[in-house]
Amino acid sequence: MMTEATQQTEIPKECELLIEEIFNRCVENAPNFGVSLENYKDSLRKTIRKFINSSNREVSAAELTDFLNQIHADDLLLAIGCANGNERAWWEFDQNHRKFLERGARHLANTDADARDVVDTVYIELYGTRVVDGERVSKFSTYSGRGSIRGWLRTVIWHSLVDLHRAAHEEISLDEMTETMGEGQFQAFIAEEPPDTEIALDEKITVERYRPAVVSSIEKAFSTLEAHEKLLLLYYHAESLKLREIARLIENPASPMRGWFQRKSASREKNPETRVHESTIMRWLEKSYSKVLQTFLAELRGEHKLRENEVAICLELIKDEIANRSIFQSLKPT
């Protein structure tokens, strides 16, 4: 929902002119979608305001021009036409995207019946059955053109499937529900209980003594990483994304995530279009581990004032942790 501040953000005049240019180009390709310039401008104004308000940093005219030129303008025109209930736009949408929707639903759903239900629901939702102030609210009106319409449809299908499961199992939370979905199921982590072995008393005392230092040092080390490095580690470890799947996420040469990782790399300047290979992701992971290790050791030595022999004990504890996951048993999920 737009805040008052968002609604009041002024759109520069140059943007208005560029929107007109973009609109005219789109209408040449699809003259029968019944979308007016004002209609199109309204949609883009909302998107521009969201863009401007996504950061406190002042936005330059060049940034706004780039932003508008990256909009999937034809997809947006189609979506607005469909939101307005234009017959021609709906026909185009149905011709071009129905098979994609059906295939996507079949891929995600556990059964054909579920897949059919999802496609049915998505179509009805796209058309819109809710009426607010006498006007039908179409799901299409939430599409901004920032990504492709197919990417957006994938997300709509996914959410629709989650809703379908929730309706069937109301008592189950969204998080739990996501674990029950078809291929690419979420990797719910169930921490293994430490093996029921008899641990010598002195060993127990050692563990109890150094465990807090190990836990707080790894927490600190992770927290000092930059956000994109944290996300990389979370995708790899907590979400179990494979290297090639992470590479896919940053395949787009213009991806800011890719830019942040490659900022200090000369290779990017030489060839910014280079494909990101799994080996590149591996290198980024290695760099992140190295940073975590440095901070982890610095914390043990500095913050916890441990001597080298104690640091060595902590590293031994880590081996134990890897073997039986005992250190974090009391750690609360965030």
Binding site: N32, S54, S55, E63, F67, Q70, E87, R88, W90, D94, Q95, N96, K99, F100, G104, D117, I124, R136, S144, R146, G147, S148, G151, R154, T155, W158, H159, D175, G184, F186, F189, A191, V214, F222, A227, K230, L233, L234, H237, E239, S240, L241, R244, E245, I246, L249, S255, P256, M257, M282, Y289, S290, L293, I318, K319, I322, I327, F328, L331, P333
Partner: protein, 144 residues
């Protein structure tokens, strides 16, 4: 976790520790970060790498803290990759575009037990001149 990384023994230990820490940090956790979840438009644009740096930073910060949205992006990445090499399919072209009600009728029948008026009852009333135009021009003009 793929064990193909070139790590020294200490880095391997820290990798294992991080693995346990991040899994435990996420396990069974409430998915709610501060504020609401990301909308579908933002999620899909992020997965496609279409967002600018200005827009991506708050999204990445949110994904670090919100396991639910992160799960969604994870699934969308897998979903996207699963179709990466599949050619784009387009339905067989019909000579005359169908009306919305025709496109939706099958869906409506299944969802509402055949009563499509439940969906179309609220449609705006046709203006008299529109109704007149409908008589002579039953279908929209094909795309040029």
């Amino acid at each position: 976790m793929e064990n193909t990384l070139k790590l020294n023994s200490e880095e391997l230990q820290i990798q294992g520790l991080l693995d346990s820490y991040l899994k435990r940090r996420t396990a069974g956790g409430s998915s709610t970060a501060a504020g609401s979840h990301l909308d579908e438009d933002t999620l899909s644009a992020f997965v496609e790498g279409s967002l600018s740096e200005r827009e991506t930073l708050p999204v990445v910060n949110h994904l670090v803290d919100c396991s639910f949205c992160r799960h969604v992006t994870t699934e969308l990445i897998r979903f996207d990759l699963a179709f990466a090499d599949v050619p784009v399919e387009i339905a067989e072209t019909e000579k005359q575009p169908a009306k919305i009600s025709e496109i939706l009728s099958g869906f409506v029948a299944r969802l509402f037990g055949g009563n499509e008026s439940a969906v179309f009852a609220h449609q705006e009333q046709e203006k008299p001149e529109d109704a007149e135009a409908e008589k002579t021009e039953d279908q929209p003009e094909p795309k040029e």
